[in-house]
């Protein structure tokens, strides 16, 4: 009886969701993009809804640019950008920003390093001056460097080592990659962090923190002509650097399945099934994103419904198509419920992959994923910071600012055939890794529980 109701529900949902053309389209960005003489890319988007302005400076350098023995350096360097320059004392940048009511932070990933601040709009010149000062004249003392290195080591301990499942990404990528630096996490290793020196800091700044490797994105309540003048005045005078090296090792094609079993001091087992896929911006990236949504977005997604809700073998089950600058992974993870068999849960993940290769996805699922995508797209463009993220991502990672708007249609045009084709193309036996991580018993069960 319950089953019958569920079927009726699905049918009704399909017919009410109708076809793609009913999806509300978000407004397009009305941006201006220029390149200064020193190579700095400038993207401006006016948004007068609130008197705030967001300023982001992207540097096209991340942990994939790190040399062997220096993992974690791009991120450590990001911390040092707050430690003083010719006209700014150590830690003065963030304290100045908070004293005007602004918010500031930075983030590093595999491909990029991004510094941002959101401030009341009339402080735009001040922020551009601050960013120019550290781009041109970063000056970090040995003792500030040593102290900040300790902070980053604590960050690694906190995020990765002292949390259940904290090292999961590290274990997945270390096993899945053989050559490409995506093998290591952006946080790096404690040993490599300890080996870094102040000379590395100067060299890294000279090599990568140059205007010809940077993009400034400004979104908010300003006049574009005035902002363009301010960017020219402060950032335009930073001298161009040498061409930026891009000698990143290529991952060889994987032709043999990898099966790994390891153990960690975690409360429950985890199983991971991954396949090597393509890069962000490749035409196959869009159907792969759609496939990830069908697998993993919402309680009606295949992984949640099958493993968590129906079979009840997993506490959580999710997947992601990690589409970034170079080819990466489509991976699925299940946290095995107490008493569950990891091998059986791995089999359940494998069945989901085989099913999508054999049958593809349904029209209802495709429609649902497109609506979810439209929702993410619309809700992801509410704030000046979110808008700047989309523009910066398009300009830096796609090297094509038009994708900031154009991707909406690329997603809406994905077909059922596209999804099944990419599943068959990438989900091959040779590109597969099956990784099982078992709990390392510490002999003590938490109060009221059995191990």
């Amino acid at each position: 009886m319950v089953r019958a109701f569920a079927l009726v529900g699905v049918v009704l949902a399909c017919s009410s969701a109708a076809s793609v053309d009913t999806i509300v389209r978000p407004p397009k960005f009305d941006y201006r993009m220029t390149t200064l003489d020193n190579g700095l890319q400038v993207v401006l988007l006016e948004d007068h809804s609130t008197p705030v302005t967001h300023i982001a400076v992207w540097y096209h350098v991340g942990s994939k640019d790190e040399k062997p023995g220096r993992t974690g350096f791009a991120h450590l360097f990001e911390h040092l950008m707050f430690k003083g320059s010719k006209n700014v004392r150590p830690d003065q940048h963030p304290s100045w920003i908070t004293s005007i009511g602004g918010e500031a932070n930075a983030q590093t990933d595999e491909d990029t390093t991004l510094y941002w601040q959101t401030v009341p709009s009339h402080h735009l010149p001040f922020v551009l001056w601050l960013e120019a000062d550290r781009m041109a004249s970063l000056d970090v003392s040995e003792d500030k460097f040593v102290t900040e290195r300790e902070v980053v080591k604590e960050e690694r301990r906190m995020r990765f080592e002292n949390q259940p499942f904290g090292r999961l990404p590290e274990i997945i990528f270390d096993n899945a990659f053989a050559t490409h630096p995506y093998r290591h996490q952006t946080i790096g290793s404690l040993v490599d962090l300890e080996a870094a020196s102040i000379n590395d800091v100067r060299e890294f700044h000279r090599t990568y923190y140059v205007p010809n490797n940077a993009t400034v994105v400004i979104v908010g309540d300003f006049d574009s002509d005035e902002a363009q003048g301010l960017v020219q005045r402060y950032l335009g005078r930073v001298p161009r650097g040498k061409p930026v090296p891009r000698d990143i090792p290529v991952e060889p094609t994987h032709t043999m399945e990898k099966v790994v079993t390891t153990s960690e001091a975690w409360p429950l087992p985890a199983v991971v099934l991954s396949h090597h896929i393509t890069f962000d911006g490749h035409p196959d990236a869009y159907p792969l994103h759609i496939l990830a949504k069908v697998m993993s977005d919402g309680d009606s997604s295949r992984l949640y419904r099958s493993l968590v809700y129906e079979q009840q073998v997993a506490l959580a089950a999710f997947g992601e198509a990690k589409l970034i600058e170079h080819p990466n992974l489509f991976y699925m993870v299940a946290i095995v419920n107490p008493g569950g068999q990891p091998a059986a849960v791995m089999q359940a993940l494998a069945q989901q992959v085989e099913r999508v290769k054999a049958e593809g996805i349904t029209a209802a699922e495709l429609n649902r994923a497109k609506r979810q995508f439209a929702r993410d797209y619309i809700l992801g463009r509410e704030t000046v910071r979110q808008k700047a993220l989309h523009l910066g991502h398009a300009a830096v990672l796609h090297n094509d600012i038009t994708t900031a708007d154009g991707e909406f249609d690329l997603f809406q045009n994905v077909t059922l055939e596209d999804v099944q084709r990419v599943a068959r193309t990438y989900f091959t036996d040779g590109s597969r890794m099956r990784l099982t991580i078992l709990p390392k018993g510490n002999g003590q069960a938490p109060g009221g529980m059995s191990r």
Binding site: D139, N162, G298, D299, S300, N367
Partner: protein, 500 residues
């Protein structure tokens, strides 16, 4: 008013400038540029109505993106639970979208996912919420679904079984998570048997005791329109938004709600509790004590004092622990205030070898805040941050709605928002010192350390912490005010429940 404050703070900044430099030689030595003319900032307009059945409705039309988001608050959480049934509020919330009216759990998931919507449920100390967002053409569908799950949850037995199993599994993860353990243990010690001290989902023992009848009774008692608030913001007119709420909730029947009776929290006591988690890479630290409720007359000056200790715009703890010594990635202090009480709590985490030093520095900052008057520039920094930050807090309609909902929830006039910054700006260093003397209790701190006890307990005595209690994870019972299994207060509970 706001612009004047900003220009004032700008003057302080732009006077200062220090030159130094080893490289970047040709770069000029110069002071930062002055700001552009500032613009006035007003709190955006919103509309409030109360339906005939008592439901308070807040709407904010906003046309930034073609979406509509909604948040409903039911004024019932852990405080309203029967004392013998901790965790009921959390289970009621978790089951709201697992079957309602004629819809099964799967129907609900299919409906919201197919519409491309988001839907979330949850509960806290004194509230339960349902919230979500949709592209605007799905507004009626989303509100109809929300109406079903708030008004007619079915609490199917098989879904209760599944939710219990999921809760047990996630507790197993939580009991391995030092952050969860530290927060849960701190709140339990500070609040004693008061419901604010309960771990949200309950414990392995209490989860087993919850029945369908408990859930039905809790829902029947508290889920009524006259005990609820709803905010709907988005790309429709105010009339359309009100009409959509009226259509979904207009015929919801009003009913009187009972009064919640709760225990009084214990007076603050000095203590150090070590929860032993062998193999930890860091020690998770909490230090603080019982404190004032949200509507206390000294809330604003005391909040400023705690911001100086560990909030944005000042944060002595961050300076001492991170910037100066590299002992941690994060350090902060917060005043967390609810309807009838709250806590002051400072938190950080550090490598096990630095546990004693970090704890000493942290406690010393509590003492210093009470003994010494704060520097006017330090207070100004915290005030300038709040004044300058105001336009950032009204950037999205959901953030605006949340500010209004908080006031309505605490029974305050939402007009309070418009005078709030003036009142913050009037706080003086002597006000801060007065409230620090009256309300801060550095001699009665509850300290919780979660980590590898064997590696750090011998650091405590040299740092002046002579007594501590050490609790192995296997003895930990978060349902007991003593945190120990089998102690007097926890003895009523059947013990040894296993997840299967």
């Amino acid at each position: 008013m706001i612009s004047r404050v900003l220009i004032g703070s700008a003057a302080v900044i732009f006077g200062a400038c220090v030159a130094s430099g080893a490289y970047g030689q040709s770069w000029p030595s110069e002071a930062p540029p002055p700001p552009l003319p500032s613009k006035p900032v007003d709190f955006p307009s919103y509309q409030l109505r109360t339906l005939a059945n008592g439901l308070q409705v807040l709407v904010i039309p906003t046309h930034e993106q073609p979406s509509v988001s909604f948040r409903m608050i039911i004024k019932a959480g852990a405080v309203q639970e029967p004392a013998s049934r901790p965790g009921v509020a959390s289970f009621v919330a978790a089951l709201l979208n697992q079957g309602a009216g004629t819809r099964s759990a799967s129907d609900i998931a299919d409906t919201i996912d197919s519409a491309g919507g988001l839907l979330g449920v949850g509960s806290g100390n004194e509230l339960t919420y349902v919230q979500g967002a949709v592209v605007k053409d799905q507004t009626d569908l989303a509100l109809a679904l929300m109406s079903d799950i708030v008004r007619s949850p079915a609490f199917p037995e098989q879904e209760i079984v599944l939710q219990k199993q999921q809760a047990m599994s996630s507790l197993q993860v939580g009991y391995d998570d030092p952050d969860y353990l530290a927060n849960a243990a701190f709140n339990r010690l500070v609040f004693g048997a008061h419901p604010y001290g309960r771990p949200g989902q309950g414990t392995p023992d209490t989860i087993g005791r919850i029945t369908r009848a408990d859930l039905v009774a809790f829902h029947r008692a508290w889920f009524v329109p006259n005990n609820a608030l709803i905010a709907v913001v988005g790309d429709l007119t105010a009339d359309q938004l009100f009409a959509a709420v009226e259509k979904a909730f207009g015929n919801w029947e009003r009913r009187d709600v009972p009064a919640a009776v709760v225990e009084t929290p214990p007076a603050p006591t000095r203590r150090v509790v070590v929860i032993d988690r062998p193999g930890s890479a860091q020690t998770e630290i909490r230090a603080g004590h019982l404190s004032i409720e949200r509507t206390h007359p000294d809330y604003i000056p005391f909040d400023m004092a705690i911001r100086i200790l560990g909030g944005e715009g000042a944060n002595r703890l961050f300076g001492v622990l991170r910037s100066d010594r590299g002992l941690t990635y994060g350090a902060s202090a917060d005043l967390n205030s609810f309807r009838t009480a709250g806590t002051v709590v400072a938190e950080t985490d550090t490598r096990t070898s630095a546990t004693g030093e970090t704890l000493r520095l942290m406690v010393d900052e509590f003492v210093r805040l009470q003994r010494e008057s704060v520097h006017p520039a330090e207070l100004r920094g915290a005030q300038d941050f709040m004044a300058g930050n105001f336009p950032l807090t009204i950037e999205t309609s959901s953030a605006i709605a949340e500010q209004v909902l908080v006031r309505l929830f605490f029974g305050q006039d939402p007009l309070e928002i418009e005078t709030y910054l003036d009142r913050v700006g009037r706080v003086s260093p002597s006000d801060v010192q007065r409230v620090a003397r009256e309300l801060l209790k550095p001699e009665q701190l509850t300290i919780v350390l979660v980590g590898d006890a064997a590696t750090f307990v011998n650091q405590l005595r040299p740092m002046g912490f002579f007594e501590y209690e050490r609790i192995p994870i296997s003895q930990l019972d978060l349902d007991s005010p003593t945190l120990r299994r089998g102690s007097a207060a926890g003895a009523a509970a059947p013990s040894g429940q296993s997840p299967r």
